[in-house]
Symmetry: C2
Subunit: 415 residues, 2 copies
């Protein structure tokens, strides 16, 4: 089967919004083994939409239309698609009901044009909108299979996942299950090289590396007719992968390094404080972005100037004179000191050169991360990072999360 | 004139990358008064690319092709477009020279397939690539005006700005000048309502509101044949706008609130320290993201728990007992205390409820921002914000920057 994605909306042609739906749907369809040959965007214009529909239906088995299902007079996707299929529009009672309750819940008056949103193409399978009002549709017409979905990604994505995907898989007897493995401290190309033969040989599950935000993910995707069999296949493939790159693994699914750390600290019932120099609060602001942060985070010092390191964090003048503030011994004292000052189980410290200029004769990217554990023993991790000022700061914070996750495992094992 | 944008690249159809070029070009063309009717994406496939070219050339005056100009065998945009126009490919000496020097500068060996990148369509105007190797082309063929540009946005955008835009404007005798005004503390719809008659009546300059990241921008765009006249027209329109919404204005161009604050503090030669509760270091990590932060930022305390506020920041026990930590008096004491502790010219404090749960019976979004000025007088700004936990934290930080920018003006005026 092959598909085309046809987005409708003048705001796309004016460059006011990005067509993220085309990317999302393309990724999803690729996972289902459906080839996408063309993306098109047209405005809210009946003539041009009809022409594009005609072209797409001639070329593809499946045409997915996105956008133009709203209540205003600009929204003409449904009307145009119905005419194209030679069908009429009928009121869908379920859709009307959910639109009415949408307004009731929000104590707002439903305007008459909102009734228009409950109109669907005659004979279509209605795709429920779990996060908005306009229902989607799946129509098997003579010309092609036609899908209509709303434009806002927060409505389209759950509709695809919960309504359209099962429909597209239906009858094939196959389902799809994915597992995402997350890694840090290894580049995408290194990971790919280490697993090259596995990636090439593996067909079910498939193994797809994905990079982003300085982390690498592997998505294992298995087609199956039985959930238990799927899990067995995923376990087997994961075991083969971890044997080679397990030391860089830190978690599953859509939970990034910082959130994983926040979860693990909560589970371990440990509190943390941090002394940050060149990261200036980047670590603590990340950690406090998750709800319930008060159970794990006590507080921190952003020690930007040397005076602050000496006066407030009590780093010894000798250390600063002999080794400088960008040094292993300074990171060590900072971690100990902040832990004592804030009476937390763990003390963390960052000192380094973010750049662009060198400091104390040390190049940008020179970084020391200190971790003082519940037993007050301090470990300092030296790093040499590269990239822009912001990239160095962000990577240092990620490394700290990764080190802490490893330490948490170790502490857990020894208690 | 009307245009179509035709992107070439299988990675777009697989959903691996987003078609940001279509958005960028649409915005730019809209500013030039060129209507865009269709966006299309096709893969690296000669047959489908030729068909799409045929369709686009039939419908539009100008067809802009993006992507597929690289050195590998996948890249076939140039060859296909040349065949479509009935022209051959010839070596462009300038392009070849700049490719060679690109490799020389990087001390890398130029591979033979890179010579392919210097091939251009016969009779085309070459568009210089200022940030990469593959040159662009502008061809006036019998079928339509055709433009070819490289896919990477960092190559395409300067090429549009420096090479294609002047070409598209050429002969018309007009140039385009823009001015961006930045506002905070007023919503996009309110700004639009306040300026509605101006926006509707104004044709040169045009006034376009743009929202993003909780800030609103107004872009004034003037078509002109004389730079001095353009400045006069922009000044006139800006004056009419500022008369109505000037109290929310904070700066020009692409410099956001935080960077503006960092620039203004440097100019005023003032240092700052911060005590952050629910923002947990978000303000200080933002301020230290710009180079040279050490000249304005001394340090800060992330005071997440009440104990830290009392023990380290010396907020009086009486204040905490009587008003709670989310209070005007606590914000006041925090700002004073951090200023003294870090010996900075300015002390800033944040206390509030980020949510999702209430705290001390106060709803999420209840926020107090304290500013202790160079004269040690403290002003506390109470706020009631809405949105997610992260939105509340980010908005509070932006408000603080806006208040500080206003205070800086006031301090400057009184000294």
């Amino acid at each position: 089967m092959n598909a085309e994605i046809l987005a409708v909306g003048s705001e796309l042609l004016l460059g006011q919004i990005l067509n993220t739906n085309a990317q999302y749907l393309s990724k999803q369809l690729a996972e289902l083994g459906i080839d996408v040959y063309v993306h098109t965007v047209v405005g809210d214009n009946e003539k041009r939409l009809t022409e594009s529909l005609e072209l797409a239906a001639n070329r593809a088995d499946l045409v997915i239309l996105t956008g133009g299902l709203g209540p205003t007079k600009d929204d003409l996707t449904k009307e145009t698609a119905a005419t194209f299929c030679g069908r009429s529009l009928v009121h869908d009672e379920d859709a009307l009901h959910s639109i009415e309750s949408y307004f009731e819940k929000r104590n707002r008056q439903m305007t008459p044009n909102n009734r228009k949103q409950a109109l669907v193409i005659e004979g279509s399978t209605v795709l429920k909108n779990h996060t908005g009002m306009a229902p989607g549709m799946y129509v098997e017409s003579e010309k092609c299979k036609l899908v209509l979905m709303p434009g806002p990604p927060r409505e389209l994505q759950p509709m695809f996942e919960l309504e359209l995907k099962p429909l597209l898989l239906d009858g094939s007897g196959t389902a799809i299950t994915s597992r995402v493995l997350r890694y840090f401290g290894i580049g995408e190309s290194q990971l790919e090289t280490d697993l090259e033969d596995l990636i090439d040989a593996q067909t079910n599950p498939t193994i797809a590396p994905l990079a982003g935000n300085g982390e690498v993910k592997l998505r294992l995707t298995v087609k199956h007719s039985d959930e238990a069999e799927a899990e067995r296949l995923l376990d087997e493939t994961e075991a083969a992968i971890q044997k080679r790159v397990g030391e860089f693994f830190y978690g599953y699914g859509e939970i990034g390094l910082m959130e994983q750390l926040s979860i693990q600290l909560k589970e371990a019932k440990l509190t943390l404080s941090a002394a940050e120099s060149f990261t200036g609060g980047l670590f603590t602001s990340g950690l406090t972005s998750y709800k319930g942060a008060s159970s794990i985070f006590v507080g921190g010092i952003s020690a930007y100037s040397s005076d602050v390191k000496e006066d407030i964090l009590q780093v010894s003048n000798e250390t600063i004179k002999q080794s400088g503030v960008v040094s292993e011994s300074c990171a060590n004292e900072m971690a100990s000191s902040v832990q004592k000052m804030f009476k937390s189980n763990i003390g963390v410290s960052f000192t380094g050169v973010a750049g662009p200029d060198p400091q104390e004769g040390k190049e940008p990217g020179t970084v020391f991360i200190g971790i003082s554990g519940p037993d007050s023993n301090v470990t300092v991790h030296p790093l040499q990072l590269s990239g822009s000022r912001q990239a160095i700061r962000e990577r240092a914070v990620k490394y700290c999360c990764f080190y802490l996750l490893n330490e948490l495992k170790r502490w857990h094992a020894t208690t």
